[in-house]
């Protein structure tokens, strides 16, 4: 009696069309290519550069300027900065994806149920999101991270905590309109349960704007992560991580400026690439801007 096809297949077709439009805009294409490149480096980094390079302390070689041997110079432990940066990208990018992914998962589920079921649940969830919106995100993440204590997982968790309410709000708004549609009544008439309707039909039909927002958020999330890491949350000193590298380089800013310049530039490039991609995707998906 149930339908075999869910609404997910339509979403996949739409995403393919988006991809097609995406490669037509040069700026967006560049951003997307860099973003893909960053993901590739994050994935294969430890295979092309042995992770031991980050633990390879050679104090006599410390603070050497960039040369043909050490492309970006060496840091205060005598490690090759280029290798350490490549190894760092994995940690920062995976943290970024984890944060947005988890925020999206929580936000979408809560938003869908909140909007579809309505009533008390909706009221309570929306007041909770209000609380989150009344505190600047970075400050709230700072406070949560401080309460949880130092450590990579705690930092990721702290940023997830401030990330989900935005997605919940957007999705809930979409669902409020979607649940009045005729097909929902039809599905109900067929005797299909609420849970199934939400997961198989409501979410795929409303998730679009949330996905766009999530893409736009990627670039900002890596900044928040690196920023809090710079302040000393997150990983310990020798672990390769971009924000942490800047903290370490700060001491030698006048003596060895490359220690600050290159890790920061890496963050900027990653963030810019994802922002360009997200900006392009939003333009493409916004029907008013679609040419």
């Amino acid at each position: 009696m149930t339908t075999r096809r869910s609404s997910w297949s339509a979403l996949i077709a739409e995403l393919k069309f988006t991809g097609h439009l995406l490669i037509q805009n040069k700026v967006v294409l560049t951003g997307t290519m860099i973003a893909v490149g960053v993901l590739v480096i994050a994935a294969i980094g430890p295979f092309i550069i042995p992770p031991s390079a980050a633990a390879n302390i050679e104090t006599p070689r410390r603070l050497e300027p960039p040369s043909s041997e050490h492309w970006l110079g060496t840091d205060d432990y005598g490690r090759d900065l280029f290798k350490v940066i490549i190894l760092s990208i994995r940690l920062d990018v995976s943290a970024m994806l984890e944060i947005v992914g988890a925020g999206l998962f929580i936000g979408v589920l809560l938003g869908a149920f909140s909007g579809f079921i309505g009533g008390k649940l909706d009221e309570i969830l929306m007041r909770i999101t209000d609380i989150f919106f009344s505190i600047p995100a970075l400050i709230l993440a700072l406070a949560v991270a401080a309460a949880l204590g130092r450590g990579l997982n705690n930092l990721v968790l702290a940023i997830i905590v401030v990330q989900w309410p935005g997605y919940t709000r957007i999705l809930r708004g979409q669902v409020l309109g979607e649940k009045e549609r005729l097909y929902v009544d039809a599905l109900r008439g067929l005797g299909i349960g609420r849970f199934r309707i939400i997961i198989r039909h409501i979410i795929p039909n409303t998730i679009y704007p949330v996905l766009v927002q999530a893409t736009l958020d990627l670039g900002g999330v890596i900044l928040t992560f690196a920023g809090l890491s710079f302040l000393g949350f997150g990983v310990s000193a020798l672990t390769p991580e971009l924000g942490r590298l800047i903290t370490a380089g700060q001491t030698y800013i006048f003596q060895a400026p490359w220690l600050v310049a290159f890790p920061g530039l890496t963050i900027l490039i990653i963030s810019l690439a994802f922002n360009l991609m997200g900006d392009g995707i939003r333009d493409i998906l916004d029907p008013r801007l679609r040419r």
Binding site: S134, I135, P136, A137, L138, I139, L140, L142, A143, A146, A147, G149, G219, G220, L223, A226, G227, F230, L231, G232, G243, I246, Q250, I253, F254, P257, V260, A261, P263, G264, I267, L268, S271, L272, N275, L276, D279
Partner: protein, 313 residues
């Protein structure tokens, strides 16, 4: 917290017998709803808790640092608005031409730049390299020169150093304070500049398509009058909202910028408080940030009514 909270209230001279009394005084053994209730009740009475790391009440500590953060935020917002609005208008008028592409790149770079890194690079260039080249360099640390503070003390009136020194006629200090403001406010304002520029552009484009603009043009008004007298006021409405949000973002950026520039504001205080596990101080800072955000949103709504007479409350 990973550590036993009572250890924060102990010194080597605390007597063993005093510990239960301390636990009872700070409600450390009570369940969290009770502790929260006590915190909120105390807040209502004006007691924000006691900061161990500052050895003074949280409210006094934060109030002392508030003007520095306010001064920095005002300077950052001002320059982002002064540069962002005209450039937003220009890129709307030259839609899809070079200025528009430039403003788009600046905007995207602005939201993609780690503010703490930008701060460090600015220090490197304008403080260190300018010094090496024998050029007049900009100070990179703190709110004013330490010897200046001793030689020309400024009476506190508003707490804003630039304003206070102007009022008291202490112009040497004004100059010094302004010089100290340049780099941190540039770094901080750069985040919001792009956002303001883009929203100004898109709302200007939106307004220029309206019928009344066509009417104004067909009446034979000059382009200048059409843009600045007819279009600008309506185009500013979305910009006001975004500026409100941007100030909130600047507030969020304060812990990072203030740490990098050694700026004696609330953000740096909070970061230091975290290093010393000073929970009341961190809670106080978060609370004050939330209060400011709510007040900014209120202010935005009030400015709306002024800009758009159709909106009545």
């Amino acid at each position: 917290m990973l550590l036993d909270p009572v250890t924060l209230y102990l010194t080597e001279r605390t007597r063993e017998e005093a510990i239960p009394a301390l636990i009872a005084y700070y409600h450390l053994n009570d369940p969290w709803p009770i502790r929260y209730g006590v915190y909120v009740w105390n807040l209502l009475k004006g007691d924000w808790g006691y900061s161990r790391s500052l050895s003074q009440p949280v409210f006094v500590g934060l109030a002392g640092r508030f003007p520095a953060t306010l001064e920095l935020t005002i300077a950052a917002t001002l320059w982002a608005l002064v540069v962002g609005i005209p450039f937003g208008i220009i890129s709307a008028l030259r839609n899809n031409k070079l200025p528009d592409h430039v403003s788009r790149m600046v905007a995207l770079t602005g939201v993609s730049t780690p503010v703490f890194w930008l701060g460090l690079l600015l220090q490197l260039l304008f403080f260190y390299y300018f010094h090496l080249l024998g050029l007049p360099n900009l100070p990179s640390n703190g709110r004013q020169d330490t010897t200046m503070a001793l030689v020309h003390p400024v009476t506190q009136i508003t707490g804003l150093l630039v304003l206070d020194s102007l009022i008291t006629g202490n112009f040497i200090v004004t100059e010094d304070a302004l010089a100290h403001l340049v780099l941190p406010s540039f770094a901080l304002g750069f985040i919001s500049l792009g956002v303001i520029m883009r929203i100004m552009r898109s709302s200007m484009l939106e307004v220029l398509r309206q019928d009344y603009i066509i009417l104004a043009r067909s009446k034979g008004l000059t382009e200048r009058v059409v843009i600045y007298r007819h279009a600008l006021k309506n185009a500013l409405i979305p910009t006001v909202t975004v500026t409100g949000l941007a100030i909130a973002a600047l507030l969020g950026g304060a812990p990072l910028t203030e740490t990098v520039f050694g700026w004696p504001g609330m953000g740096r205080l909070a970061v230091e408080g975290i290093g010393r596990n000073d929970a009341p101080l961190i809670m106080g800072f978060t609370l004050i940030a939330a209060l400011i955000l709510v007040l900014i949103n209120l202010a935005v709504d009030i400015i709306y009514a002024y800009l758009d007479p159709r909106i009545k409350y």
